[in-house]
C-alpha cells in the first residue's frame, strides 16, 4: 500500500516547505497572503471586491459554525460543514453570472450564499423540515443532491438546453473527489464532451470521501482525467479565493462561448468531520489537519488585505459584528421555525394529484383528527 501513498500530490503552501512545489497548481494568493501572478489566469479585482470576497468567506464560516452548534444542541438532525472549503465555494459562486445555473451537492452552502439563498432555507433541510426550502428556479441554485454524482448529468442536460436556446449562460456542477468514481459522473463527462455542452465540472478535492482518502479514488491527479475525456482540466488552489474566481470565470466564459466543458479540481481540505455524524479521528491524523490550518482560506485573504492596507481593523470588526448578527438571525430563525404540516407530504408528489393520494390525504387527516378529539 505504500506505493499508492507515494503518488499522493504534495499539499501546497508554506507550512510544507519540505514538499516540492506543484507546478500545475493555479495560485494567485499564497498562504502568506502574498499576491502572485499566473501566466494564464490573471485577475483584476478592486479593493472593494476583495473586501466583499472576504466578507462572504467570513460570513459563510460564521453560518457554518452556528449550524454546527445548533446541531450539537439537538436543533438540526445533521450538518455537513464546509469549513476549509469557503474559498473554493465563494470563488466559484462569485464567478457565476445571473443566468448561469448551479447544481450543488449537499455541502455547497457557500455557493448557496452567493446565489442569494437564505441560510434558513438550507438549515430547514438539515433540521428535517423540508427537502430544501429555497426556490431552485428563482435562485438558479438547484436543490441539494445527496445521491453522489447524479447532479453532474443534470447539469450537463441543463447545459444542452442552454445550447438549444442559444442562451448566453452556462451550467456548473459541483462534485466531490469521491464522486469522480461514480459511473454517472463519468457518463456526464462523456456527454458534455461529445456535445460540447456549456458546463463546468467543479470538483472540490477535499482529500476524503467520508473516511476514504483520494488515493482510493484515483491513481492520477484528478484534473488530469479530463484530458482523457477530451476537455481541459485545471487544478486550482482551492483555498485561494482569487485563483478559484479567475479559473472558474475563465471556464464559464469558455463554456458560454461554445467551446465546451472544463473540469476544475479545487485542491482543498475538509477541516471538519464529513458531517456531524462522523468521527474523523478514526481515519486521519491530527498532524494533517494542523498543516492545513496554516493554509486557511480566510486567514490568507485577511493577511493580504491588512498587509496591503486594503482593509483596516474597523473593516474586520464590522464583518465580525455582521457575522454575529447573522448567527443570531440563524439561531432565532431555526428555533422559531414552525414544524411542517403533516399533509405537506401528500401535496407535491405529482403535478396532477392522483385520486389515490388524495384519498390517503383525507384518511390521514381524519385519522389525525381522531386523536385530537
Amino acid at each position: 500500500m505504500t506505493a499508492v501513498r507515494e503518488m499522493v500530490d504534495p499539499v501546497p503552501g508554506a507550512a510544507a516547505p519540505h514538499l516540492p512545489a506543484q507546478p500545475d497548481l493555479v495560485q494567485l494568493l499564497t498562504p502568506e497572503g502574498e499576491r502572485v501572478e499566473h501566466p494564464e489566469y490573471s485577475l483584476d479585482v478592486t479593493d472593494e471586491e476583495l473586501r466583499s470576497l472576504y466578507r462572504d468567506l467570513a460570513l459563510v464560516r460564521r453560518w457554518d459554525v452556528e449550524a454546527t452548534a445548533l446541531q450539537r444542541q439537538g436543533e438540526l438532525g445533521i450538518w455537513a460543514s464546509l469549513q476549509g472549503q469557503e474559498a473554493a465555494q465563494i470563488g466559484a459562486g462569485r464567478a457565476l453570472g445571473e443566468a448561469d445555473m448551479a447544481f450543488p451537492t449537499y455541502r455547497e452552502h457557500g455557493v448557496a450564499w452567493t446565489r442569494g439563498v437564505d441560510p434558513l432555507d438550507v438549515i430547514s433541510l438539515f433540521r428535517g423540515n423540508d427537502l430544501g426550502g429555497w426556490d431552485p428556479v428563482a435562485t438558479r441554485f438547484n436543490l441539494y443532491t445527496v445521491v453522489i454524482g447524479a447532479q453532474c448529468l443534470h447539469a450537463t442536460g441543463y447545459a444542452m438546453g442552454i445550447q438549444r436556446d442559444t442562451a448566453d449562460a452556462a451550467a456548473i456542477a459541483f462534485l466531490g473527489d469521491g464522486a469522480t468514481s461514480q459511473g454517472e459522473v463519468n457518463e456526464a463527462f462523456i456527454w458534455a464532451a461529445t456535445f460540447d455542452a456549456p458546463v463546468v465540472f467543479f470538483c472540490q478535492n477535499n482529500q476524503y470521501a467520508i473516511s476514504v482518502p483520494i488515493e482510493r479514488q484515483s491513481k492520477v491527479p484528478l484534473f488530469q482525467r479530463a484530458a482523457g475525456f477530451g476537455f481541459p482540466g485545471v487544478r486550482v488552489d482551492g483555498n485561494d479565493v482569487l485563483a478559484v474566481l479567475a479559473v472558474t470565470r475563465a471556464a464559464l466564459a469558455r463554456a458560454r462561448e461554445g467551446s465546451g466543458p472544463t473540469f476544475i479540481e479545487a485542491f482543498t481540505y475538509r477541516m471538519g468531520a464529513h458531517t456531524t455524524s462522523d468521527d474523523p479521528t478514526r481515519y486521519r491524523l491530527a498532524d494533517e489537519l494542523e498543516e492545513w490550518k496554516l493554509r486557511d482560506p480566510i486567514a490568507r485573504l485577511k493577511a493580504h488585505l491588512s498587509r496591503s492596507g486594503k482593509a483596516d481593523a474597523e473593516f474586520f470588526a464590522g464583518v465580525d459584528a455582521e457575522g454575529d448578527e447573522l448567527a443570531a438571525r440563524i439561531r432565532k430563525g431555526t428555533l422559531e421555525m414552525p414544524d411542517p404540516a403533516g399533509t405537506e407530504m401528500f401535496d407535491h408528489v405529482y403535478a396532477e394529484q392522483t385520486e389515490e393520494i388524495a384519498a390517503q390525504r383525507a384518511a390521514f387527516l381524519a385519522y389525525q383528527e381522531g386523536f385530537e378529539k
Binding site: 423540515n129 445527496v146 468514481s181 459511473g183 407530504m345 408528489v349 393520494i357 390521514f364
Partner: protein, 324 residues
C-alpha cells in the same frame, strides 16, 4: 449466551463467517478503517487485512459488479450498501446480472453474493437515508431477500446468507441497530428462509418484518391490556416467502394484518394478502388488511413519525379487522 446489540450481532456474525470461510470477502464504502458508518464491520479490516475487508471507491455499480466477478472466481463477496437510498447505482448489476447469471449459465456460475442494506426510517436522517426498497428486490426473480428484526437472527441469518449458494439481499433495520438482546452463539438456528411466530395469540394474526416486528410486538402488548390477543409472525424471509406458519395462524384467528414501512401500494403486503386470501379464504372473517407507509416521497424527518406505521396505526387496523 451473550448480550449483543443488533449491530454487534451482525459484526460478530461477519467475523464468524470470515473465520469459517477464507473465501468470504467484504467490500463497501468506508467499511475498513472507519468500520462502516454504522460500525457493523468495526475491527474486521484490522484483523483480516485489506484484501478481505475492502474500502472501495465510491461507486455502487462497481461494488456489485466486481462482486459478480469475484463470485465467478470462487469468492463469497459480502457487500455493504451504505444506505438503502444508495443501492440504485448498483440496481442494474443486481437485477440484470446478479439475479440472472445462475439461470443463464444453467447453474455453472452460482452467485453466492450477500448484499447488506441498512433500511427503513426512524433515525431522523436527511433524504435517501430512510427508504424501504425491499419490494423491488423481492419482485426480481433470481434474488433471495431476507430482513432481520433482532440480534439473534442478525447473528445467525447473516452467516446463513453468506453460506447460501444464491444471492441474498440482506436487509438490516437500521433504527434497531442499537437494540440489545441475549444471543445464544451455540444454538442451532432455524432455517434461513423460514418465518417464525414470535408471540402467540388467538384474535388477529399480525405479520411484520425488520423494524416493524418490534412495533407489532408492542401493539400486541398494548392490545392485551385491552383484552385482545394478537399473534405476531416475524416473516424473516421476503423471497421466498414462508407462509406456512402464517396460514396455520390465520386459520385459527381468521384475521390478518400485514405491517411494513414501505409504501403500501404494491408492497410485500399486497402479495401476502393475495396469497393468504387464496389459501385461507374459508377461514377469513375479514379481508387481509395492510398497514404501510403512504404512497408519497419519503418525507423530511419532522414528518416521519406521521409517515411511519406505529403502534396506533397497527391497532387501528386491528380494530378494523375485528369490526368486520
Amino acid at each position: 449466551m451473550s448480550t449483543l446489540t443488533l449491530g454487534k450481532a451482525l459484526n460478530t456474525g461477519l467475523r464468524k463467517a470470515m473465520e469459517d470461510d477464507p473465501k468470504v470477502v467484504l467490500m463497501g464504502e468506508d467499511i475498513g478503517k472507519l468500520g462502516g458508518v454504522f460500525r457493523i464491520t468495526d475491527g474486521l479490516q484490522k484483523d483480516f487485512g485489506e484484501a478481505r475487508v475492502v474500502d472501495t471507491p465510491l461507486a455502487e455499480a462497481g461494488i456489485v459488479g466486481t462482486a459478480v466477478g469475484l463470485a465467478m472466481r470462487g469468492y463469497k463477496p459480502v457487500v455493504e450498501i451504505q444506505f438503502d437510498g444508495f443501492v440504485f447505482p448498483a440496481y442494474n448489476q443486481i437485477v440484470t446480472q446478479v439475479a440472472k447469471i445462475h439461470a443463464r449459465s444453467r447453474g455453472k456460475l452460482p452467485m453466492p453474493i450477500t448484499i447488506r442494506i441498512p433500511f427503513g426510517g426512524g433515525i431522523g436522517a436527511v433524504e435517501h437515508h430512510s427508504e424501504s426498497p425491499e419490494a423491488y428486490f423481492a419482485h426480481t426473480t433470481g434474488l433471495k431477500v431476507v430482513a432481520v428484526s433482532n440480534p439473534a437472527d442478525a447473528y445467525w441469518m447473516l452467516q446463513q446468507a453468506i453460506a447460501h449458494p444464491d444471492p441474498v439481499v440482506f436487509f438490516e433495520p437500521k433504527r434497531r441497530y442499537w437494540d440489545k438482546a441475549e444471543v445464544d452463539l451455540d444454538a442451532a438456528p432455524p432455517p434461513l428462509f423460514s418465518s417464525r411466530v414470535v408471540r402467540a395469540g388467538d384474535d388477529v394474526t399480525l405479520l411484520a418484518y425488520g423494524p416493524m416486528v418490534k412495533t407489532a410486538l408492542q401493539a400486541a402488548e398494548a392490545a392485551e391490556a385491552e383484552g385482545r390477543s394478537l399473534e405476531v409472525v416475524d416473516l424473516r424471509t421476503l423471497s421466498p416467502l414462508d407462509l406456512a406458519p402464517v396460514e396455520e395462524s390465520v386459520r385459527r384467528t381468521g384475521r390478518c394484518v400485514v405491517v411494513h414501512e414501505a409504501q403500501t401500494t404494491l408492497g410485500l403486503g399486497a402479495e401476502i394478502a393475495a396469497r393468504v386470501s387464496e389459501s385461507c379464504f374459508h377461514s377469513l372473517e375479514a379481508p387481509v388488511l395492510r398497514v404501510g407507509g403512504y404512497d408519497v416521497t419519503y418525507p423530511p424527518s419532522k414528518l416521519e413519525e406521521e409517515y411511519l406505521p406505529d403502534l396506533d396505526r397497527v391497532l387501528e387496523a386491528v380494530d378494523r379487522s375485528m369490526g368486520f
